[in-house]
Amino acid sequence: MFELLQQSLFSGLLVGSVYALVALGIALTFGAMKIINLAHGELVLLAAYMAYVIESRTGWNPYAAIPLAFAVTALVSIAIYLLIERIREHRELNSLILTFAIGVILTNAILLVFASDVRSTNSPLLQDAVSLGSVYAMNSELLAFVVSLLVMAGLWWWLRNSWYGRAVRAVSSNRDASMLMGIDPRRVELAAFIVAGILASVAGVALYTMSVVQPALGPALTVKAFVVTVLAGVGSIPGVFCAALLLGVTEAMTVTLASSALQELVGMVLFLLVLFFMPNGLFGARARRG
C-alpha cells in the first residue's frame, strides 16, 4: 500500500507539471488583458494533435513536433487576440463568449480532421518505464516534467528580465500606470498571447506523449487549468506550480485509492473547498471578488 501511495504521489507530481504549463497560459493572458481565454484547452489539444501528425507521418519523436505545434498555436493564439480586440461593448463577458465559441470551432475542426478516435504515442522509447529507487515512471513522464520545469524557468526569466516580460508584469499589475510609462498595452497583450501559445504547444506535445488525447478533451483541460488558478489564487509562477502539483497528486491518489472515474471529481471537490473556505486561494493574496 505504501509503495502504491508513493508511486501515485510521484506520478501525480509529474503530471502536475504539465497542468502548471496549461494553467500558466491562462493566467498570463488573464493578467495582461483581464480576459479568460476559454479556448486555451483547445489550443493545448491542437498542439497535441500536431505531435500526433508528426509522429504518424514521419515516425519522428513527438517532441520534434514542438516547432510545428508552436507555429500553429501561436497563429491561432494571435488570431484569438485579434478577434478579442475587435469587441467593443461589454468586453469582459463578450470575450468570454467569443473564446468559448472559438473553443467550439476548434474542437469541431479537430473532430473533422482527425475523427473522434483516441490517439496516443506509440514510441517505445517514450513508453519505456524506468525505476528510480522504489518508484517507476515512463520516460515520457520524466521528460515532460523536465521540459515543463525548463519552460517555466524560461518563463520566469522572461517575465523578470526581458523588456516584454517586465511590460507584461507592469500591465498586469496596473494597466493605467504602465500606459503612462509609455508601454503600449496592445503590444504587451499580443506578446502575452504568443507566449501563452508557446506554453500551450509544449504542454500539448507533453500531454500527447504521456497520455491519450481526443477531440472532446479541450474544455476539460480549460477547467483543470482554471481549478489550478483558483487553487493558486492568481499570482506567482511558484504558486501556480504548487497548485498544479497538488491537483496532479490528488488526482493520482484518487485513482490509486478509489477509482479512475473519480479522478476528475476530486479536482472539482478541491476547487469547491477552496472556493468555500479560502476564496483567495492557497498561495495568493489578491481577491477576485466582484
Binding site: 465559441a101 473532430l111 473533422l112 471578488r289
Partner: protein
C-alpha cells in the same frame, strides 16, 4: 400594439406550424426539440440579462431536472406532472450549491459554473445504482394524457411546450418589470450605488440563478419524458449549454422573445442544414455563427432592430 408585434407574430407561427406540418413527424419532432432548447435559452438569457451572469453550465440543470423527474416517476411512482415539477425543483436545489460561486466576479463565475456542470455529469455516471450509469436509464413513464389530450404524441408535446415556453416568457417579463427587475437593471453598471440604497445584490442574483435553474430543469424533465431514454452523456451533454447560448446571442439575450425565436431557428439550422453539410463536427458552423454574432451584432438580430428605439438596450422588451 407595435411592442406586442413580435409576440403576436411568434404566436401565429406557433399555431400555424402544427396546421401545416402536423402530419410530418420529422418536422414536428424537430420543433419539439427546438422548443426544448428555446426554454433553456430563455432561462439562460434571464440569468444573463437580469442577473448579469454568463453561464457555461446550464447542462447541469438540464440533466438534473431530467434525471430527477425520470427517477421519481419510475421508482417512486410519482405522477408525471408532479415529477416534472420535482425535476425543476431539483435543478433549483442544485443551483443552491453554486451560490458560493456568486462571490466570484464575471469571468470566474462563468468558469465556476462550467466546473460545476462537469461535477454533475460525473456524479450521474458514477451513481449508477440510482441513475443506471453510462448504460442509460429507460422504462419511465411518457407524458400523460390529460383531459383527452395525449401529451406524449408529437402534436401534444408540441402544444405543451408552446404553452410552457409562453408561460416562462410571461414569468420572465413579470420579473423584469417588477422592482426586482428594476434593481437588477441598475446593478449591471452601478453596483455600489444600488447596494447602498438597500438592495441585497447577492440575494437578487441568487433568485435569478434559482429561477433560471428551475426553468432549465423543467425543460430538461419534459424532454426526458418525451425522449424516454436518458444517459449521462446525453442529459448532461455540453449541447444543452452551447445551443442555448448561441440561440440567446443570435436572437438577442437582452430581449425575452429573441432567445426563443433564435433557439428554434438555430436548432433547425443545425439539424437540417449543418448536419447535412457536415455529418461529423457540424457544430463548427454554430461556433462560427456565435463568434460572428459576438463580433458583428452582440445584441442579436432582434437587438439590431431595437437599438433604434429610445432608451437603454436593457429596456427593450
Amino acid at each position: 400594439m407595435m411592442r406586442n408585434l413580435p409576440a403576436a407574430a411568434l404566436l401565429v407561427a406557433a399555431l400555424a406550424i402544427p396546421l401545416v406540418f402536423g402530419g410530418n413527424g420529422y418536422i414536428m419532432g424537430l420543433m419539439v426539440s427546438g422548443l426544448i432548447v428555446a426554454g433553456v435559452a430563455l432561462a439562460w438569457a434571464l440569468l444573463g440579462n437580469l442577473g448579469g451572469m454568463v453561464s457555461f453550465g446550464h447542462a447541469a440543470f438540464f440533466g438534473v431536472g431530467a434525471y430527477t423527474s425520470a427517477i421519481l416517476s419510475a421508482k417512486a411512482g410519482l405522477p408525471v406532472p408532479l415529477s416534472l415539477l420535482a425535476g425543476a425543483l431539483g435543478a433549483a436545489l442544485c443551483s443552491l450549491v453554486m451560490l458560493p460561486a456568486l462571490r466570484l466576479s464575471g469571468p470566474y463565475f462563468a468558469l465556476a459554473i462550467l466546473a460545476y456542470a462537469h461535477i454533475f455529469k460525473i456524479l450521474a455516471t458514477e451513481l449508477s445504482s440510482i441513475t443506471g450509469g453510462s448504460a442509460g436509464f429507460q422504462r419511465f413513464p411518457t407524458l400523460p394524457t390529460i383531459a383527452g389530450i395525449d401529451f406524449s404524441s408529437r402534436t401534444g408535446s408540441y402544444a405543451l411546450l408552446v404553452v410552457m415556453v409562453a408561460l416562462c416568457a410571461l414569468v420572465y417579463r413579470a420579473v423584469k418589470r417588477s422592482h426586482v427587475g428594476t434593481a437588477l437593471r441598475a446593478m449591471a453598471e452601478s453596483e455600489d450605488a444600488t447596494r447602498v440604497v438597500g438592495v441585497n445584490a447577492t440575494l437578487l442574483k441568487s433568485w435569478m440563478l434559482l429561477l433560471s435553474a428551475f426553468i432549465t430543469g423543467l425543460f430538461g424533465a419534459m424532454n426526458a419524458h418525451i425522449i424516454n431514454f436518458l444517459e449521462p452523456d446525453y442529459a448532461f451533454s455540453g449541447n444543452w449549454s452551447v445551443l442555448p447560448i448561441i440561440a440567446a446571442i443570435f436572437g438577442g439575450y437582452r430581449t425575452i422573445l429573441g432567445p426563443v425565436a433564435g433557439a428554434v431557428l438555430i436548432y433547425l439550422f443545425d439539424q437540417i442544414i449543418a448536419k447535412e453539410l457536415l455529418p461529423v463536427g457540424h457544430q463548427i458552423l454554430l461556433g462560427l455563427l456565435l463568434a460572428g454574432m459576438i463580433l458583428v451584432a452582440p445584441n442579436g438580430l432582434f437587438g439590431l432592430f431595437q437599438t433604434r428605439r429610445k432608451g437603454a438596450p436593457h429596456a427593450a422588451a
